[in-house]
């Protein structure tokens, strides 16, 4: 069925949240079969930054749900939103 590249925007709990540390914690909880392809920080407003991850998942039942649920449960994460979907080349 191939793969899907999901761009996921993770908002931290506060301006104090360490995004480098947060990314490591997110990597630890990645469900089997998914992988982080790339990551970057994006300035939003008033000192808040979002962590933008491109995660590869299978084109399977559940879609991005497992990854979203796993990320949402990590301390330091305020919200998880899939902002783009695509198929890698």
């Amino acid at each position: 069925m191939g793969e899907v590249a999901a761009t996921i925007k993770i908002m931290p709990e506060s301006t104090e949240t360490d995004l480098v540390d947060l990314k490591i914690k997110l990597e630890d909880v990645l469900p089997e079969g998914s992988e982080i392809y790339s990551s970057k920080e994006e300035p939003i407003a008033f000192g808040l930054k979002a962590l933008i991850l491109v995660v590869l998942v299978g084109d399977l039942e559940g879609g991005t749900e497992q990854v979203e649920d796993a990320f949402a449960a990590v301390p330091g994460v305020e919200s998880v939103q899939v902002t783009e979907l695509g198929r890698p080349v």
Partner: protein, 421 residues
């Protein structure tokens, strides 16, 4: 030079009908493939003395580079035509991704429907045509693909064209106004120029058809709507909601209202990319601060709008849905979760008003006792707590929803009318 107008282009169709190949081919023909790969290719082709496999070679090399972890931008696929620049919204096959296409991900302005000539209309072809209608994609181009595998037969092309036209008619598209193009994405027929393999075809090639699309209307003339993604308390500033402007324009100094809470105040400051802005327009990801609004006045799923035309809070709403999957049957009383903009709210099916015939779009049954996978229906829903939703005809960006239950996307739908609180 002014930037070309931008469009989000979805590529839809049944699995293995050649969607990815078509996307790759479009990028290749428009020069959107990374320059270093083209150089690498030229060198290799010169060495080996063959140039005919350029396209296949580039696709393989891109895949290989990705697998070896060489960073290429796999999430954004952009290519330019004479008139527009396009971002490809490449749809996954599984239904559970439909939720993302409705809530977070960018809305497509147009779509290319890929139908393989040897197969014709298949299950996913039907489903995608239905969904594109529900998702508000009103401009389509039909690529009757894999013509090389159908001997470039005009007769086969016409048969498939008739099948697809019938399907489009069912959901209210006017097939006579939609371009049908015989293609082979793999060979490159009728992509950037007319192919000698189809001398019987006199219409536009894909790139020409893309330039004939109408520029999407900017949603900045609609009333302001910003669904709140999160709300923060930031020292020295106060309460800062963050979110993406969906419609309208928000200016510093204007009075805004958050619904359903009703909290109202004056916009003190707006920031985007950490820089202060005098106003925010559709597509902007912003944080903003409103005088007199406390942390408890605003939460995820609320929607900010002008105090003079606040967002609609539904006591009940009617929606048209397409049931994508459900293990049994849906009846009155069913209470799944509705995902609409940033809100997730449970809602009860109060009545099943009409079952629609997917073959004609006409009412097949008034007040059916149940609906099941594959059915289209008009339903009335009562959210279990106040929720903002707008009729799709007034503010399309806030009128679409996904219905989720048991970890599955049960249905996709659009709001037809709202009975306000």
């Amino acid at each position: 030079m002014a930037e070309k107008p931008h469009m989000n282009l979805a590529v839809i169709g049944h699995i293995d009908h050649g969607k990815s190949t078509l996307v790759g081919r479009l990028m290749f023909e428009t020069g959107a493939v990374p320059a270093h790969l083209i150089e690498k290719y030229k060198a290799e082709a010169k060495e080996k003395g063959k140039e005919s496999f350029a396209f296949a070679w580039v696709m393989d090399t891109l895949k290989e580079e990705r697998e070896r972890g060489i960073t290429i931008d796999i999430a954004h696929k952009r290519f330019d035509t004479a008139k527009y620049y396009f971002t490809v919204v490449d749809c996954p096959g599984h239904r559970d991704f439909v939720k993302n296409m409705i809530t977070g991900a960018s809305q497509a302005d147009a779509a290319i429907l890929v139908v393989a000539a040897p197969d014709g209309v298949m299950d996913q072809t039907k489903e995608h045509v239905f969904l594109s209608r529900t998702l508000g994609i009103n401009q389509l181009i039909i690529a009757i693909n894999k013509m090389d595998a159908a001997d470039y037969s005009e007769e086969r092309y016409n048969t498939v064209k008739a099948e697809v036209s019938a399907l489009l008619g069912l959901v209210g598209f006017k097939a006579s106004e939609i371009p049908f193009i015989p293609t082979s994405a793999f060979v490159g027929d009728n992509i950037s120029k007319s192919s000698e393999n189809t001398p019987w075809y006199k219409g536009p090639c894909i790139l020409e058809a893309l330039d004939l699309l109408k520029e999407p209307e900017k949603p900045d003339k609609l009333p302001l709507r910003i669904p709140v993604q999160d709300a923060y308390t930031i020292s020295g500033i106060g309460t800062v909601p963050v979110g993406r402007v969906e419609t309208g324009v928000m200016k510093k100094g204007e009075t805004v209202t958050f619904m359903p809470s009703g909290a109202t105040g004056e916009v003190k400051s707006i920031e985007m990319h950490h820089e202060e802005q005098a106003q925010a327009v559709p597509g902007d990801n912003i944080g903003w601060n409103v005088r007199g609004i406390g942390k408890n006045d605003v939460r995820r799923g609320d929607v900010c709008g002008p105090a003079s035309k606040p967002p609609s809070v539904a006591d009940e709403f009617t929606g048209q849905i397409v049931v994508l999957q459900h293990p049994s049957a849906i009846t009155v009383g069913y209470t799944p979760v509705f995902h609409c903009h940033t809100a997730q709210t449970a809602g009860t099916f109060m009545s099943l008003d009409k079952k629609l015939d997917p073959k004609s779009g006409e009412v097949k049954e008034e007040n059916p006792t149940y609906i099941k996978a594959g059915d289209a229906a008009i339903i009335t829903v009562k959210p279990t707590r106040p929720m903002v939703i707008e009729p799709v005809k007034e503010i399309p960006q806030l009128g679409r929803f996904a219905v989720r239950d048991m970890g599955m996307t049960i249905a996709a739908g659009m709001c037809m009318s709202v009975k306000q609180k």
